[in-house]
């Protein structure tokens, strides 16, 4: 059961522009959402998170938006940099041992 979905397997943007990565979930019990970034041959690296009591969390160039009614979250990267090129995983959980991941979106930022 795919409880967390990232429907875009890839995204390409120009350096300096905004990157928007999307994620949908089906389980209304999820109350904590995270984005991880993964470079080749490395494990996922935590990027940013948001609790279900908020609708926005910002950290530097990265902002996560949560729309609970639509069961949708998105990650905005502004401005995008070539070093941001990686696979981005969306994850959601309702308890510590129940984190579900999407299949990932490969972001390419072109110079």
């Amino acid at each position: 059961d795919q409880q967390v979905k990232q429907n875009s397997p890839s995204l390409s943007v120009q350096e300096g522009r905004i990157s928007i990565l999307n994620c949908d979930y089906t389980n209304s019990m999820f109350d904590y959402f995270l984005w991880y970034k993964k470079y080749p041959a490395e494990g996922p690296t935590f990027l940013i998170s948001i609790s279900s009591i908020k609708d926005k969390n910002e950290d530097g160039r990265f902002t996560v938006f949560l729309n609970k009614s639509a069961k949708h979250l998105s990650l905005h990267i502004v401005p995008s940099q070539p070093g941001d090129s990686a696979v981005y995983f969306c994850a959601a959980s309702s308890r510590i041992n129940d984190m579900r991941f999407g299949a990932g979106t490969r972001l390419t930022v072109k110079p």
Binding site: G43, F46, S49, F89, A91, I96
Partner: protein, 117 residues
């Protein structure tokens, strides 16, 4: 400080062989998780430890998979009689969380890529 480390980074096994994958979590982290990541997919939960106690092993795909964390730090994931479908990247993660809530970050190791021929 040091992050989560895993060894070996790559493992090739013949079908039917047993393998053991090691995880060294971040020092002081109470919780430890194992995930399996198939090609083109996100990580999928296998099992969870709080200290030395294995509190959830619901994600282990068969009884050929066994995990332990005897002293509450290093953990080993063992796969007996490996099959081709076991080929995947096995990720270990740790977190400080003790309360059982969702709101604590999991920090991942680099993974072990297992290939079963």
């Amino acid at each position: 400080g040091a992050g989560v480390s895993q060894s070996p980074r790559y493992k090739v096994a013949k079908r039917g062989q047993d393998v053991a994958l090691r995880c060294d979590p971040i020092s002081g982290h109470v919780s430890l998780f194992w995930y399996q990541q198939a090609l083109g997919q996100g990580p999928e939960f296998l099992t969870y430890f709080q200290n030395e106690a294995q509190l959830d092993k619901s994600g282990l795909p068969s009884d050929r998979f066994f995990a332990e964390r005897p002293e509450g730090s290093v953990s080993t994931l063992k796969i007996q009689r490996t099959q081709q479908e076991d080929s995947a990247v096995y990720l270990c993660a740790s977190s400080r969380e003790t309360s059982g809530g969702a709101g604590d970050t999991q920090y991942f190791g680099p993974g072990t890529r297992l290939t079963v021929l």
